[in-house]
């Protein structure tokens, strides 16, 4: 029996969403400060207006929907979906007011792409965009990598009752430490540390490349934000090709891989469990998948005859494969080169890499290496059960910080989530086909959106039909939240119509 939400449920959803939106509004201080520093007064107005809107929303919900009620799983999931929708809407205000987006849909597209760490973009004239706008775009991907709920929990957990339910709702199934707030803080400590390291190293490289001090710093910061956040936004229309630097590419590759690693593994290694790097089942699965997809990409480029030397083939295959596998989306070549020179074989290898993605509880998207590994173990388990004596008890183990026994319901969930991803990949491809795009191109872009990658074969542009933009927004959203919270939203709508 479906129960229609009560007024108290609505109050809890709005009250806690208001708090999360207020936390989100605070983050606009960074681009606001940038706007002041670079005398971008109109952008300062835009950010002040958007920030005020966030605070006013919080004040209104706090006045009229105040509650001490603890969140249930149902209301917690709805808080996540509503908070995301509100943050995307309010976050799009400065984008739209900047004049660099043709419509509010385009601005919303880029905020969703930022939050979900996708990287597909509809911004126009990026190369003349103000620094504060770059700070906001890049910052969105850094925040989105950690999760906006994680951000809010860091500031607001004392008044957010039932925090674990919103934490899990944002596709974060594992806690690093027992309390949710400590977990949120730990995630920020890890992220800020790698951000600082990446910024320092890339800044040195940029200075060596003769960039001015402030631009060397800002470019290093922005690229580190989106490399660690596996987002893929860049401050130049050339993406990472702007730097032409193999050393910078190496640093970016390292940051992308680190960003795609489970926060739990980071935490374990930080606290001295270095054997986890060798023993961890998910990391081993990820490494095997990377080796497999890299081999396919490399062989694919060989078949296409586009690259004469092994070195350039290796460089291009490695950078773009890691960019795809970690669901980042940086490109050091224009999309036409991907379309005309890589060939279908290498392109399909990238599609496979994108669809699988990085590790669970990381900044990466996609089906996730853990699920792929568990699915394989599930199949092995079933075969072993059939081949064992009928009274025998057969188990499969895997190591993830400690030993776990594979459970049937885990395999079932893996199957369901993987099915949901594949269905969404195919739905997006179908929409692309309806609008006349070729099959491989449509599938590539659809997987890129759903798995929150951001590599483009050239379909995504401001000229894209509005329906396709909306569909990609939806794909990015469900892909990032890993379906559950969005399914609950669907359940909520059904309950509104048919519940008691």
């Amino acid at each position: 029996m479906l129960l229609r939400p009560s007024k108290k449920d609505y109050a809890a959803i709005l009250h806690y969403s208001g708090q999360i939106v207020a936390g989100f509004g605070i983050t606009m201080l960074l681009p606001l400060a940038t706007a002041f520093a670079y005398r971008e007064w109109n952008m300062a107005s835009a950010f002040a207006l958007a920030m005020s809107t966030c605070f006013l929303f919080w004040l209104v919900t706090d006045r009229f929907f105040y509650t001490k009620r603890e969140l249930t799983w149902f209301t917690g999931m709805l808080v996540v979906t509503l908070s995301w929708a509100l943050a995307v809407t309010f976050g799009a205000i400065p984008f739209r007011l900047s004049g660099f987006y043709a419509s509010f849909v385009d601005a919303t597209f880029d905020v969703m792409s930022g939050f979900t760490t996708t990287g597909l973009t509809l911004i126009q004239d990026l190369d003349h965009a103000p620094y504060s706008l770059h700070m906001w775009r890049q910052g969105l991907q850094f925040l989105g990598g950690q999760g906006i709920i994680v951000l809010a929990l860091t500031f607001l957990v004392r008044s957010l009752r039932g925090a674990v339910k919103v934490y899990v709702g944002e596709a974060r199934e594992e806690k690093l430490v027992p309390s949710v707030r400590s977990t949120a803080v730990a995630i920020w400590v890890v992220s800020l540390t790698y951000l600082a390291l990446g910024t320092i190293v890339l800044m040195i490289i940029n200075l060596w490349s003769r960039m001015a001090l402030d631009r060397a710093f800002l470019h290093a910061l922005w690229i580190s934000m989106t490399a660690w956040g596996t987002g893929g936004y860049a401050p130049s229309s050339l993406s990472t090709a702007y730097y032409h630097n193999v050393a910078a590419e190496f640093v970016i590759v390292c940051l992308m891989i680190l960003g795609a690693i489970n926060f739990v593994i980071h935490q374990a290694v930080w606290y001295g469990q270095r054997r986890e790097l060798i023993q961890n089942f998910e990391l081993r699965t990820f490494s095997a998948v990377v080796l497999f997809t890299f081999t396919l990409t490399y062989l694919g480029l060989g078949r296409s005859d586009a690259f004469g030397s092994l070195a350039s083939r290796f460089r291009m295959a490695l950078f773009h494969l890691i960019s795809a596998q970690t669901d980042t989306g940086f490109m050091s070549i224009p999309s036409f080169a991907l379309k005309h020179y890589w060939g279908d074989f290498a392109t399909m290898a990238l599609i496979i890499a994108m669809s699988i993605g990085g590790l669970a509880c990381s900044t990466a998207g996609g089906i996730k290496a853990m699920r792929v590994g568990l699915a394989i173990k599930g199949i092995v388990l079933e075969v072993r059960k059939i081949m064992s004596p009928e009274r025998g008890v057969v188990y499969e183990y895997y190591h993830h910080v400690r030993q776990h026994i594979l459970k049937d319901n885990q395999v079932k969930m893996v199957g369901l989530i993987a099915l949901a991803y594949v269905s969404t990949y195919l739905s997006g491809a179908l929409v692309g086909l309806v609008y006349g795009f070729p099959l491989v191109d449509s599938l590539f872009e659809s997987v890129s959106a759903t798995a929150n990658v951001g590599l483009t074969i050239g379909i995504t542009s401001p000229a894209l039909p509005v329906f396709m933009k909306m569909f990609y927004i939806l794909q990015m959203w469900v892909g990032r939240l890993e379906f559950t919270a969005v399914f609950v939203l669907a359940g909520f709508l059904v309950a509104l119509a048919r519940g008691r």
């Binding site: 207006l49 229309s237 090709a241």
Partner: protein, 177 residues
């Protein structure tokens, strides 16, 4: 457009210019050919792989960028240009939000995949000519937006102060749902 017909010579006239949009639409037709392209210098000169590089944009924003109040007309069309060392100092202004970059005309070879530079897409310039000098862009204040933002900030600040005052009163007990 026939690729052969667009092969240009140094200091080429308007008719001998090739647009980057045409090149990117059919890169195989232009790959390895000598062309003359024109566009805005962006960012700065970057030193890497023993070369000096500049980003050149050939799109509607070379005439009027959004930063100057121009209309949104699609995404940037850009390419990396390897500059001859002696010509690098010719460029003084580089485009960004505050600056209109020099419009330069570059003759050289287009490489869809450049083996010399690790498989990147680039343009090896043999000559560079500055067509028009860039300038600083002034940004007039959008007064209605500034007023609206100040009013919104004042409203939010006042309401937050009132809220804080009310809930911090001794003995105040909040009623909730």
């Amino acid at each position: 457009m026939d690729a052969a017909a667009t092969v240009a010579h140094a200091g080429g006239s308007e008719s001998s210019l090739t647009s980057l949009a045409d090149v990117f639409a059919d890169p195989k037709a232009y790959d390895g050919r000598t062309l003359t392209i024109r566009g805005e210098a962006i960012g700065e000169i970057v030193r890497a792989q023993g070369e000096l590089w500049v980003q050149l944009n050939d799109d509607p924003y070379t005439r009027k960028s959004i930063a100057e109040g121009g209309a949104a007309q699609g995404q940037n069309v850009s390419i990396s240009v390897v500059l001859p060392r002696q010509d690098a100092n010719l460029i003084e202004y580089f485009g960004d939000f505050h600056t209109k970059g020099d419009i330069i005309e570059v003759t050289g070879r287009f490489n869809a995949i450049c083996e010399e530079h690790g498989g990147e897409t680039d343009f090896h310039a043999s000559s560079v000519r500055v067509v028009s000098r860039g300038y600083r862009i002034s940004h007039p204040l959008d007064v209605p937006m500034a007023v609206a933002s100040i009013l919104a900030l004042l409203l939010a600040g006042t309401l937050a102060a009132v809220r804080r005052h009310v809930i911090s009163r001794p003995g105040f007990k909040r009623k909730g749902w």
